[in-house]
C-alpha cells in the first residue's frame, strides 16, 4: 500500500457538493461513489443526479433521511439508470420521481458491496484502492463546529448519523488519517473535506462501509 493515496489525484472525484437544508447526504454519497467508479473505468468524469436518488429510492425518506446501503440495493435490484445532474438538477427538497426515455444517457450499477471493517482498517485501505472511493456512515455531531485538522476525539462509533465518502488516506505524518469528502459545500472544513484519524474506528468510520460498481 502506498503511504499516501487519494482518488482526487487521479481526477476521478467530482467537485464537492452542498446538500443545503436537505437531509440527502445518503443519496449524495451513493451518487458520488458511482461517479468515481465510472471515471475509474476510463469514462468521462461527470456529475450524476442525487435528486433522482432522493426522489426515487422508495424505501428511503428523501430529504428526511435514508440509508446508502438501501439506495445501493434499490439501484442494483431495479437497474435504475442514473441520469446526469444537468438532466435532473438538485432542488434541495423531495419531489416526484421522474422517469426518462431509454434514449436519455444514464448509467446503472452492476453491483455493490457493503461491510463492517471495524478493527480492519488496514483491509479497508486495500478496498479503497481496489473498489474506488468508499461510502461511510459516521457520527458527525461535532462536525457542526469543525474547521480543520485531524479528528481524533469528540465523536462516537456508536452514534452514526451522516453519510460521507472516503477518497483517500495519508500515513506520511505523525497521525495517519482518512481523507473524507463531505456534502456541506467547499467552504466547510478543508475545502469541503475532513480528516479522520485511522485505526481506531474514530466516529465509526469503519462500521458501515459500501461501494458501488459500474
Amino acid at each position: 500500500l502506498p503511504t499516501r493515496f487519494d482518488w482526487r489525484d487521479k481526477n476521478v472525484v467530482t467537485r464537492v457538493r452542498n446538500q443545503g437544508s436537505c437531509g440527502g447526504c445518503w443519496a449524495f454519497s451513493v451518487v458520488e461513489v458511482i461517479e468515481s467508479a465510472y471515471a475509474i473505468k476510463g469514462k468521462p468524469l461527470q456529475t450524476f443526479s442525487a435528486q433522482e436518488v432522493i426522489d426515487c429510492s422508495y424505501k428511503d425518506g428523501g430529504c428526511n433521511g435514508g440509508s446508502p446501503v438501501s439506495a445501493l440495493k434499490w439501484l442494483n435490484q431495479t437497474k435504475t439508470r442514473l441520469v446526469t445532474e444537468s438532466m435532473y438538477p438538485f432542488k434541495a427538497k423531495t419531489g416526484m420521481c421522474h422517469h426518462f426515455p431509454m434514449s436519455t444517457f444514464g448509467i446503472s450499477i452492476k453491483g455493490y458491496q457493503a461491510y463492517s471493517f471495524r478493527h480492519k482498517e488496514e483491509e479497508m485501505m486495500h478496498k479503497l484502492l481496489e473498489w474506488g472511493p468508499l461510502i461511510a456512515v459516521v457520527d458527525a455531531v461535532s462536525w457542526q463546529d469543525y474547521l480543520g485538522g485531524i479528528i481524533q476525539h469528540h465523536c462516537s462509533p456508536e452514534e452514526s448519523n451522516h453519510a460521507v465518502v472516503i477518497t483517500g488516506y495519508d500515513r506520511t505524518g505523525d497521525i495517519p488519517y482518512w481523507i473524507v469528502r463531505n456534502s456541506w459545500g467547499s467552504t466547510w472544513g478543508i475545502d469541503g473535506f475532513v480528516h479522520i484519524k485511522m485505526k481506531r474506528n474514530v466516529c465509526g468510520i469503519a462500521d458501515s462501509v459500501a461501494a458501488g460498481f459500474v
Binding site: G23, G65, S116, L147, H154
Partner: protein, 79 residues
C-alpha cells in the same frame, strides 16, 4: 448583536456555539494533545441550534452489515 445575526434564536445559538467550540478545543489533560488535532470554531453552522443542525444535516443511519472477511468476499466474487 442579534440584529446583525438575524433572529434572537440565531443569536442565542451563536453564543452557545462559541462556548461549545471552546470546550471542543480544550481537551482534558489526561488526553494527549496530538499534533495536527482538529480545531473547532465559527463556520456556516454556528447560528444553528445543535438540535436543528442534527435534524437538518444528520439524516442517515448505519446499516447492520456483515463483518468483512477476506475469504468470504473472494468466494462470493468467484461464485
Amino acid at each position: 448583536s442579534p440584529g446583525r445575526l438575524g433572529s434572537a434564536h440565531q443569536y442565542k445559538a451563536f453564543q452557545e456555539s462559541i462556548q461549545r467550540q471552546h470546550a471542543l478545543n480544550s481537551l482534558p489533560s489526561d488526553l494527549l494533545v496530538e499534533k495536527g488535532s482538529a480545531t473547532y470554531g465559527i463556520n456556516q453552522f454556528s447560528d444553528l441550534a445543535p438540535e436543528l443542525f442534527r435534524a437538518t444535516y444528520l439524516c442517515s443511519k448505519p446499516s447492520e452489515l456483515p463483518k468483512y472477511k477476506p475469504f468470504d468476499s473472494e468466494v462470493k466474487r468467484l461464485h
